[in-house]
Symmetry: C4
Subunit: 218 residues, 4 copies
């Protein structure tokens, strides 16, 4: 019990500062990647923000591991947190949790499940797509034979990938760019699954309701 | 009540003229985009029709806002109407509503849910696809390095996008063309979701019925 | 009643000969398209078979229209038959019906719904894909700037289209080829819907069964 | 009964050695395809391992056919085993079964259905994708006009195919490569169906649970 309550207190207290750290991390990364003509001093500021945010994530992970009292099992049972520690670009995904917390605090009734899934899928895809477009642009734009030359190309390619359309007029050519691309394809598959699943669950729900409203004799 | 009834009366009266205005808007836009050798006088006619239709949409929006007595909340609670005001090319989507109203007035029984969803998805995709193909053609066909050179190319590219096939033999190259393309991809995802959702709800329905028909002992 | 029974008798009697006619139609069309070096006499034979089969379809349509006693409404209520009359390449789809009839006659128990849907979807996609690949090859292989040069290319392109993968290494360039392509895309969407719908209905069924098997206390 | 028990005993005893044989088969095939500069002696070792594994599969198939006492019907009722005998690259799919057996032996509770389907689909797609990328690379990399030149290209192309994205920046050009590609597309369609089906069944399950938790008066 004391473990649980101390953990809950820690998570309550660190939620807001960590959300700010996530946002600062993403912004600094974006500035670093996109503003090629940035003076050295500003590059230093961005890099320090990135490392500070990463350090904050690591400390948070360590404290929660300690408080959980779980030992090595923690790494596996909190695999999403572990993954986020290794790939902090996935961190902004927590903003989805915060969005839900804010909605709850404002006393709004929860949305029906399918609306919630579509909202979360949309938010996640937007954040992951932005982070992915940044990472692909960083690794591709200077590679020999690259077709993704501007950030606009990268966003365009990311959209076509997430929608599983895949024109192929621009496409990554470096190994690291292609690894990120495969990650984005998986997001696209999940997005497709979420959209389709919501649609069919929504239709089944409407359908069941219509069945209930009809006189039972029919 | 009076609010509601006045609103309902307004919507009943304006339904037909606004549908005509939507159609005239789409036709004038199509003529303007496709008929490159149009004499100046006719271009003027088309432009006036476009602006007149837009004005009619704006007046309708303002009157309904007034009648609702909702204040600024109206903009958000009627976000679809607001979006249509900003992007009148989406306006023909209301034809779907009119199709439903006509069906109801003729006393036809409502189609089962999955048939209705497929019909609406089909109609919406057809109208949005036509409007999207027009808009992409307008922004692309004269751009340097463009591959979408004729309206036929644009329709072909739109079909491949909406089906999430995405050959990439032709593809938009201008920023605005790509923004429209992302909108069409979202339509494609929704279409896929509608088709798949209808299929699975239809199958589950047939399945449940077969289960009911079997003797309970099996 | 007499109408119905005469119609049923007609359909029973013409089922087998019409299936043979469909098959002959498809084979003759394939021979005509693929065997470019065919001597004139054989071309004549193929063309006569095609026209004879078409005539048989037309006579069957006319007789059934007459027997139904429906007047002009028949054209609309039997829209699939009307479409097949105009596009006889879709005719082999009736083989699906025949497959079902043969299965029933052999006294086999009906497959569960999802297996049946996957079987029908697979058969339809195979037949339509073959007919589509033939038609696209016929219209494309001699067009200027074409990338679909052999029947193998056409089959490869058809597969990529039906799976909504769409590489775009080869793609139709003629207007008629592209119209057929859009038809194939629609088939691909329906196939995707059928596969996905079957999967989700099958999973829900297994799931419900597992729920039933568990002791109700859990 | 004796048939069944002898069959079960055989399958229990051969499970582990056959899994090792499958793994050795896949590894030897990978070494043979990827290590182009392999000395002749090692090539011989790999080839012998491949043929030995194949022989083991054939013996297992023959023994099980004998023990089943079914006659020619066995070939059809065990069509998956027959297919694996002809295409031993599909053999590693049995690892999925072994994964399940190991999980059961360790006394772990079974995962809920949708998690299980996603796990199996993921494992199968990983194994089939690896085998497919190897086979496509083998048949393509030396073909004239090929775009898949390295194993990295082949993995990249396989990922884009399985996610039904299909950029088309690289694509197979040989007939055999394209046949394998069509097989991978079918896997991609099934994967999409599995992801989507799991999503919608999971959502329906959560939904039903929420319905149950609400007071029945609402």
């Amino acid at each position: 019990m004391t473990h649980d309550s101390r953990q809950a207190r820690w998570e309550n207290r660190t939620e807001a500062p960590l959300a700010v750290a996530s946002l600062l991390y993403l912004i600094s990364y974006a500035v670093l990647v996109l503003a090629s003509g940035l003076p050295g001093a500003w590059r230093g500021v961005c890099l320090s923000v990135i490392f500070a945010a990463w350090a904050a994530f690591a400390v948070d992970y360590a404290v929660r591991w300690r408080l959980s009292g779980q030992g090595p099992r923690f790494v596996r049972s909190h695999w999403l947190d572990t993954l986020v520690l290794v790939l902090p670009l996935l961190r902004p995904l927590r903003i989805v949790h915060i969005y839900e917390a804010v909605q709850r605090r404002q006393g709004r009734p929860r949305l029906p499940l399918h609306a919630r899934v579509v909202t979360y899928a949309g938010l996640s895809v937007l954040l992951l797509g932005f982070a992915g477009a940044l990472a692909v642009y960083q690794h591709e734009h200077a590679a020999p034979g690259a077709t993704i030359l501007t950030f606009g190309d990268s966003v365009w390619w990311t959209s076509a990938t997430l929608a599983t359309v895949g024109y192929g007029d621009v496409a990554p050519v470096t190994p690291l760019g292609r690894v990120i691309a495969v990650g984005l394809m998986l997001c696209g598959l999940a997005l497709l699954g979420a959209v389709t699943g919501s649609f069919s669950s929504w239709m089944l729900q409407v359908f069941t309701r219509e069945d209930d409203e009809r006189p039972p004799g029919r």
